[in-house]
């Protein structure tokens, strides 16, 4: 009998071959960028096949590397093709114009209580909701600064774990709070960064 792991590998290798074949045939720049997603998914499948807690923890770096390179490359693509005109109006959803802003506040507060990664996602959703339902000036320098400092705090938490392991509880709380701010800041950029004036 063939063990499960080898069957999984067979599928993963076949999928990798197919994805790379598509990439090899494609010549258009933008389509190549889209096809890289096919490859990234197979990467995660390779890690997930290990099936331990460690694999679960390693998926996060694997995912983040793919996503961050996508951010940088799509911006390079935009610059090299010379797409400088900002898109016209944002989403035109009528119900959002009258949506109560308190919903955003509830999401943010609940996210802060949750804390950690998913807390950041929930709170970030609240911020997006606010940006969609209210007109906003682009104050991204503020968000960037918050995100940058929380990144530093996160790294500090890591070094507390390394150097002062007896203060592990402080480190966990620091990391949980910092990633909350970090994820919230990153998520709030989705769909809101439209190249408007930086107020």
């Amino acid at each position: 009998m063939i063990p499960d792991y080898s069957i999984g590998l067979l599928v993963a290798f076949a999928a990798a071959g197919t994805a790379f074949f598509a990439l090899m045939r494609e010549t258009d720049g933008l389509h190549r960028l889209l096809l890289t997603d096919l490859v990234e998914v197979v990467t995660l499948a390779f890690i997930a096949l290990v099936g331990t807690d460690l694999a679960e923890a390693l998926i996060l770096p694997g995912l983040v590397v793919g996503v961050s390179e996508l951010i940088a490359l799509s911006e390079i693509y935009r610059v090299k093709e010379g797409y400088v005109r900002p898109p016209a109006a944002g989403l035109q959803i009528e119900v959002m114009e009258s949506a109560p802003g308190i919903l955003a506040a509830i999401l943010v507060v609940y996210g802060i209580i949750l804390s950690g990664f998913s807390g950041g996602a929930v709170a970030g959703l609240g911020v997006i909701f606010y940006f969609l339902s209210r007109s906003h000036n682009e104050r991204f320098e503020l968000i960037e600064t918050a995100s940058g400092y929380s990144w530093v705090l996160w790294i500090v938490a890591f070094f507390v774990f390394m150097l002062l392991p007896q203060h592990w509880f402080f480190a966990v709380m620091l990391a949980g709070a910092a990633i909350l701010v970090k994820v919230m800041a990153k998520m709030s950029l989705i769909g809101t960064m439209r190249g408007g004036p930086n107020a």
Partner: protein, 156 residues
């Protein structure tokens, strides 16, 4: 004979030097490796893994992330170098008060436990393999720096 080899090398280097062919070339190499991977099957799966998923208890409110242990006490974690992390296992067993309440009263915290401070994934990401997380966020940081620099410059 010698001229023939030179001709071949010239052709190859001309093909390689055109960056439009770069992706196709690398993709081709990856297809070959994928085929080699399929041919090298079956591969044995090592049963002695680090941080294994064992002792799963479907009745637990933390399922499938229940790794046992008492909060603020040691928990057994199969780390690579346990002597380097004297407090390994403490983060695994810790739950925030809200999480503890949800875990006691519902069966669904396991689906979100990874997201709270504490738990086995945080243990690995922050404590025992913290350097991975540092490098990972540095990659994100570099990518954001590139994207925001290009974005800002256009706006000027």
């Amino acid at each position: 004979m010698e001229g023939c080899i030179v001709l071949i090398i010239t052709r190859i280097s001309r093909f390689v030097s055109n960056f439009q062919n770069l992706v196709a070339l690398f993709a081709g190499a990856c297809i070959i490796i994928s085929l080699a991977g399929i041919l090298s099957l079956p591969l044995g799966f090592e049963e002695q893994q680090l941080y294994p998923k064992t002792d799963l208890d479907p009745a637990s409110g933390l399922y499938p992330y229940d790794r046992g242990g008492v909060p603020f006490g040691t928990t057994e974690v199969v780390a690579q170098y346990p002597e380097n992390s004297p407090y390994a296992g403490y983060v695994t067993a810790y739950l925030t008060p809200l999480s503890q309440y949800l875990a006691d009263h519902t069966h669904y915290l396991g689906t979100t436990i990874v997201a709270h401070p504490g738990g086995i994934v945080d243990e690995i990401l922050y404590n025992t393999r913290g350097l991975d997380t540092v490098v990972e966020t540095s990659i994100l940081f570099a990518a954001f720096a590139i994207a925001s620099y290009l974005f800002r410059r256009e706006a000027e």
